[in-house]
Amino acid sequence: MASGSKIDALGQFELHPILGSFGEALRLSQSPLFMVISAAVVLTFLYVGMKPKAVVPGRLQAAAEVSYDFIHGLAVDTIGEAGTRFFPFVFALFFFILTGNYIGLLPFSFTFTSHIVVTLAMAMAVFILCIITSLRVQGLNFFKHFMPEGAPIALSPLLVPIEILSYISRPISLSIRLFANMVAGHVLLEVFASFTIMLAGLGVVGDVLAITPVVLNIALTALELLVGLLQAYVFAILTCIYLREAVAH
C-alpha cells in the first residue's frame, strides 16, 4: 500500500495472526488460511465435479476429468510405469501451487507461494522423496550417478563435487524459481497500483494519466495468470523428471 510518496510493495507479503490469541498461540497467519482455502477449492472441485459420475460428463465433471488426465498423463509419460504411484503426489503439488497462485491474484487475498519457506519446504519434500526412492530402487548404485560414466578417473576430484553440488542445488532452484516469480509479479502489480493512486492525486491531468497503470495492471494480471500456471507446471514436471531419475535403474 502506498503511504505518502513511499511505495510499500513488500507489505503484502507480511504475515498477520488470524483468529486472535488462539491463532497467535498456534502461529496461525493468513498463509495457512489460504493453504486451507486452496486445498478446499481443489477438493470441492473434484468432489462436486465427480458427483454425477455420469458416463457423458457435464462441464464441471469434464473439467475434473481433464485435470486428472492431464496430470496423470504428465506423471506416467515422464516417470514411466512407476508414475502411477507418484501421480497423487504430483497432482497434489500441481494443484496446490496452481490454486495458491491463482487465489493469490484475487484482491485482499494472500499468495502463500510467494514465501520462500513454503516453496522450499515443498521442494525439500520432492528432494527427500527422490533420495528415498533412489536409495530404495537403486540401493548404493545411487551414489554412482555422482561420477558420470566414461569420464576419466583423474577428473573425479573435480566432477564428483560438481555433480553433488548440482544435485543439491535442485531443491534450491526449484523453490527459488517459484518464489521469485510470484514475488516479482505481485510486487509489479502493487507498484503499478500505487502509481495509479499517486497519479490520481495530481488533479485532472493525473486522473487521465492514472489510467495507464490500470491498463498495465490488467495486462500484468493476464501475464500473472500465465505465470501462475506455468510455474505450477514447471514445478510438477521437474518433480516428475527428478522422480524418473530416481526410479531408473
Binding site: 510499500d8 510493495a9 486445498a39 473434484l46 468432489y47 465427480m50 503426489f89 497434489a92 499517486m198
Partner: protein, 194 residues
Amino acid sequence: MRLTPRFLLSAAAPLAALPGRAVAEGMPQLHFNDPYVQGQVLWGAIIFFIFYLLLSRSALPRVANVLKARDQRIKSDLDLARRAKQDADKAQKELHEARDKAFDDAHAIIQEIRDTAKKNIQHEVSETLARLNTEIRDAETRIAQSRTKALNHVSGIATNTATTLIERLIGKADHHSVASAIERAHTAGGEHVS
C-alpha cells in the same frame, strides 16, 4: 506529489532493492525469526499432507473409477457392436451361399429336365423311325410277295389261254410244250413284262 526523477527512482526502489536492502529488512519472507514465517512451514506440511491423503485415498480414486467405468463401458459397447457386425456378416454370407446354392440347384434341375426331355424325344424319334422302317420293310415284303404270286399266276393263266387258243385253232394242244414255250417267252421278255 510530483513526477520528479527522484520520485520515479523511489517508486522503482523496491524493485531494484529486492536483492540487496530487502534481504536485510524489506522482504517479510526472509524474516526467518518471525514465528509466523516458521509456523507456516509446519502448517503447510500438515495441510499439504492432509490434502495429499484426501486426494490419494478419496478424491482421485473417484475420478479414476468413473474413467475406468467409462472405458469399460465403451470397450464392452464396442465389443458388442463388433460381435453384432460379425453376426450380420456371417448371416449375409450364409444368405449369399444359400442363394448361390439355390441358383445352382435350380440350374441343375432345369438341365436335368431338359436332358430328360431331349432323351425322351430322341428315344421316341428313334422308336418311331424304327417302327416306320419295319413297317416299310413289311410292306415291301408284302408287295414283293403279292407280285411274285401274281407273276406265278400269270404263267399259269397264259399257258391255259394259249392251250385253249391252240386247241381252237388246230384241234389239239400239247399242254406241256405250250407251258415250256410260255416259260421261255416269259424268261426272254421277263424284264420287259416286269
